[in-house]
Symmetry: C2
Subunit: 246 residues, 2 copies
DNA sequence: GCCCTTATGAATGTCAGACAATTAAAGGTC
DNA sequence: GACCTTTAATTGTCTGACATTCATAAGGGC
């Protein structure tokens, strides 16, 4: 049946088939939850072997466009692409992009805080007690002197995500997830002294206070100062790294 | 050799292998441009068949973590994850998220313009003649009355991406690419009247003027008004859609 | 009739082996 | 040295088989 596309043998068959199915999903010809034909049927439809179809399906699964289920009445189903799924993909891509050293600490830092500041007006307007409580709790945790650097960073991420979520826009949260989480590996390289922790906790407190008072300008200021301070910390690490060779 | 992980048979072998290789790449044990062992070698190393390895590799290829080359001295190579690659993945994920109707037009619109406004201060400070010229050119195109709605939307995207790129931060551009491009399918549903086009072109001109004058506040205002206007247009479409069934 | 156990069949997951297609490099010819 | 041919390595594809999973149907005990 192979329709023999005239001059498109540039890609693998599996890539072409993956693309065809992806288009069907994106264009709404297949709806969420719908079951794809079985691998054997797809193989026949596209005029290829089952292995080729399977490779195509694995490509789609890697983008979490479909999920597969074994057993009777199993098969491949169109995924809903939940926010969580989108988040994790977003984070994976962003982390990759940064970890491949194509991006300087300065650039990543600037992007992250610029985006975060964008949330400030919405967060100040919409913040609920729930998110405020999360931020306060993380600030308390960050004040414990026996906290490891990794745990401090993780808490930092949690706090900032609470701030972003307080803006009450899931698409914004999704976009920011990448920016905030992807910075963590870079932040993890920083050894936090007691003094720098104190400084950061102070700025976090200012941020939480601003949100509580629904003062967007104050939140903006706190984030500006946090960016500046993070930048100096990061620069120190980068400088000492390049001094000690690689 | 199968190390028989104690209690992790939750995933397919191909997914496990993909994850193992992905970790190796992310953690820097494999560097950009490096060649992976051949499929046959990987199959032996992991104690699985070649098909299983291939499925794992397809998963990684779908995330553009690797690229494959046929022939002698071919194989799978660790990809650099260029900005373009990251862009397109970002766009795919964002588009999917929006197109699956899990997101309202209002939410998407708010997120998009909130993020774009975040770029205003940087863009106003750093804008070069190049990006200004691109914006002016797109405004001129949008003023042509015989332009199709699709072309109008595409030009809109180009203009807004020029604005974002003017901020001079590639990470920011990458993050925004998703927000801006993913809106296009939603915008494409809008039929632009001559009046609405005029309104939009006027706001675009105000945005370009603000950038030229390096006036961040004016750019912010223009984007606010653009958001408000886009929202009314979108609401009209949604309303008429729900009236006419479906 | 009701519940528990046991087939059954359809589907994915995995394997093994084969061949085709591609490609860079080595070797040969002039 | 330039050009052509061979070669070997590697991915791409196909075929057929078996293992595994799992909802449903069938059967048996009470």
């Amino acid at each position: 049946m192979k329709t023999a596309s005239p001059a498109t043998p540039r890609q693998d068959l599996s890539a072409q088939i993956a693309e065809a199915i992806r288009d069907a999903i994106v264009e709404g010809r297949m709806i969420t939850g719908e079951r794809l034909p079985s691998e054997a049927e797809l193989a026949e439809q596209f005029g290829v072997s089952r292995s080729t179809v399977r490779e195509a399906l694995k490509r789609l699964a890697a983008q979490s466009l479909i999920r597969t289920q074994r057993g009777a009445f199993g098969g491949a189903f169109v995924n809903r692409l939940s926010y969580e799924g989108a988040y994790s993909q977003q984070i994976t891509t962003s982390t990759l992009l940064l970890s491949m050293n194509a991006v300087s600490f300065e650039t990543a830092c600037e992007a992250r805080y610029t985006l975060e500041r964008a949330c400030a007006p919405l967060a100040a307007r919409r913040r609920t007690d729930e998110y405020l409580a999360t931020m306060r709790a993380e600030i308390a945790r960050q004040s414990q002197p026996d906290l490891s650097d990794e745990a401090f960073c993780a808490s930092d991420v949690t706090l900032h995500r609470a701030f972003v979520d307080a803006a009450g826009n899931p698409v914004l949260s999704y976009q920011l997830a990448g920016a905030v989480e992807a910075m963590q590996p870079l932040m993890n390289m920083i050894t936090f002294t007691a003094r720098s922790r104190g400084e950061i906790v102070g700025l976090h407190t200012a941020l939480a206070d601003a949100l509580e008072a629904q003062d967007a300008a104050a939140a903006d200021t706190a984030l500006h100062r946090l960016e500046a301070y993070t930048l100096t910390l990061g620069r120190d690490v980068m400088a000492s790294r390049s001094r000690h060779g690689k």
